[in-house]
Symmetry: C2
Subunit: 373 residues, 2 copies
Amino acid sequence: MNYKPFDPVHRILMGPGPSNIDPRVMKSMSKNLIGHLDPEFIKLMNDIKGLLRYAFKTNNELTFPLSAPGSAGMETCFVNLVEPGDKIIVCINGVFGGRMKENIERCGGYPIVVEDKWGSPVDINKVETALRHNPDAKILAFVHAETSTGVCSDAKELSNLAKSNNCLTIMDSVTSLAGIPIHLDDWKIDAVYSGSQKCLSCPPGLSPVSFSEDALKIVKNRKTKVQSWFMDLSLVMQYWQGGSSRAYHHTAPISAMYALYESLRILKEEGLENTWKRHETAHLELKRGIENLGFSFLVDEESRLPQLNAILLPDKIKPYEAEIRSRLLKEYNLEIGAGLGALSGKIWRIGLMGYGASLNNVKTCVNAIKEVI
Amino acid sequence: MNYKPFDPVHRILMGPGPSNIDPRVMKSMSKNLIGHLDPEFIKLMNDIKGLLRYAFKTNNELTFPLSAPGSAGMETCFVNLVEPGDKIIVCINGVFGGRMKENIERCGGYPIVVEDKWGSPVDINKVETALRHNPDAKILAFVHAETSTGVCSDAKELSNLAKSNNCLTIMDSVTSLAGIPIHLDDWKIDAVYSGSQKCLSCPPGLSPVSFSEDALKIVKNRKTKVQSWFMDLSLVMQYWQGGSSRAYHHTAPISAMYALYESLRILKEEGLENTWKRHETAHLELKRGIENLGFSFLVDEESRLPQLNAILLPDKIKPYEAEIRSRLLKEYNLEIGAGLGALSGKIWRIGLMGYGASLNNVKTCVNAIKEVI
């Protein structure tokens, strides 16, 4: 068999991620490889930690990119903070809340589910009731920005509730980081994970995480060993913290770290607040265009994510939706996302993330959809 | 704080990995990003699977790169094949056998340890005895090429023994893949994991794995759920196997896959056997040079890995060994590896891996050491 050079076409990535990446980030990956214990690399690790603190608005010392995708970031939060028998309140209003529940169960935890309709934000009243009925709950887990539905939940209010009931919080910020405001410290979030391939506009493969002092106390005082060796924070920390000499844990993905560093530099240059504004502006323009074509949104206006637009498909389009997406890809090199799970065949997910959150992309996308439907 | 562009110097990477990478591989990472469910990417995934089968000499359908470093590949093998209470024979003759034991325990397995001196290969007789005394053992786990000591164990013989005792085998091939012969199917290995950053000369971050039909039967007939969601093969398979449409599991590290594909193409072009020979030739030249300087090897000649050379440090050098490595790095841009664990301060580890297994590198390294000591 003949294996030809792989030359991917240029796609406009407007699905739920990965998003297109800045040429500066692309170029950074081809820089000279150095060792994972090289003093120069350790300096880079420190700079990445500093920039991630800026992106999350936190002073948490343990803020770093896990060497695996966002779903491993999720698992890292749960395997370190949940011990067998622990009661965890988990909010499910889409695919990723469901995945959280899977994680809790696989850690031997006991999940108390607060369920909301896909496309609705987490209902604060239901969470309050769940907390009242479960005073022994250890953690409240929720998704800030549900990638499967495009809904934003009120992280600040949820965390407030948790804190006044002596609960820790685990927050999924895979799609929210750098796309909408996150104030980790002000909101008192204890554990958070994200992904490199959404609004940070990096290639997929890394999961920025951050842990509060309260979370680390829990990790330090565990009765049982963390079930995962690879994700055990007490081991990973020895590599990501400390002075100039670090203990080897695993070999970090050097080139991916170059990319993350460059994307975080770009974020800092533009300014976090300006980046949030750019996402909002692109979203409003997409809203105008897509509503003009007769589409509407799955999510109510006040809970919509600018970076992930879930568009309801009219009945006449539903049977052809896969074909239309396929034509957009083939004829326009435009990727938009399908619905996941219960929303498969019922919505499209149009991403406006990071480098891709531009008025140009909006125009291209609206025009292409207009021509194809 | 001012975050400057990161411009790593050019290092000659002759430690235990990462190794230097071919310019073609470096260039490949900067290619256009496409989606993880794009038909073009799914074709690439199939090609990568085909090339990994070539590298492992296997027909195993489930052969793919896990989206995380080698230590996560190790954990994937154990969490999928070990259930609570399972008896596992694990051979420890260095750091990575010890890590295997950690994994077995964290899965609730019961490890039977066969211990050998660091620097010695796994003793076949001891394994035979262990198998005889433990007829209920489910798996024999061993490291083919110990990265911490540079010793090669007889994988074929170990697997033979396991098979005649109805045991599955888990083999660590992180440092062996593409550096020395592996015949996965001939040897009847059931589960294997490797790393991208050693003799494949890719950036770190991916772990090629392969599973036999017998291993998959065990996975399918488990009584308990795999404790890791991210590494659960029954879920990962839905993304890596099947036809043109794949179920989403996690977002694969696209750019890292480009790099792996290109490095595997280079391996195929050179030919696996020629690559093995090149490692051997470079090793013999290093041996000559380093012995001329008065050094000797930790490992007996018949068990030495060409790609990982553990050099015993004379007493007069030991107190200065860290300083010497630091000077090699600063003055010669040459990275060689320190000893790990019990061998810390007692050996150096000189890697000749993949793209870096060249006579030029050997010359540079021997001359630099000669000048500094």
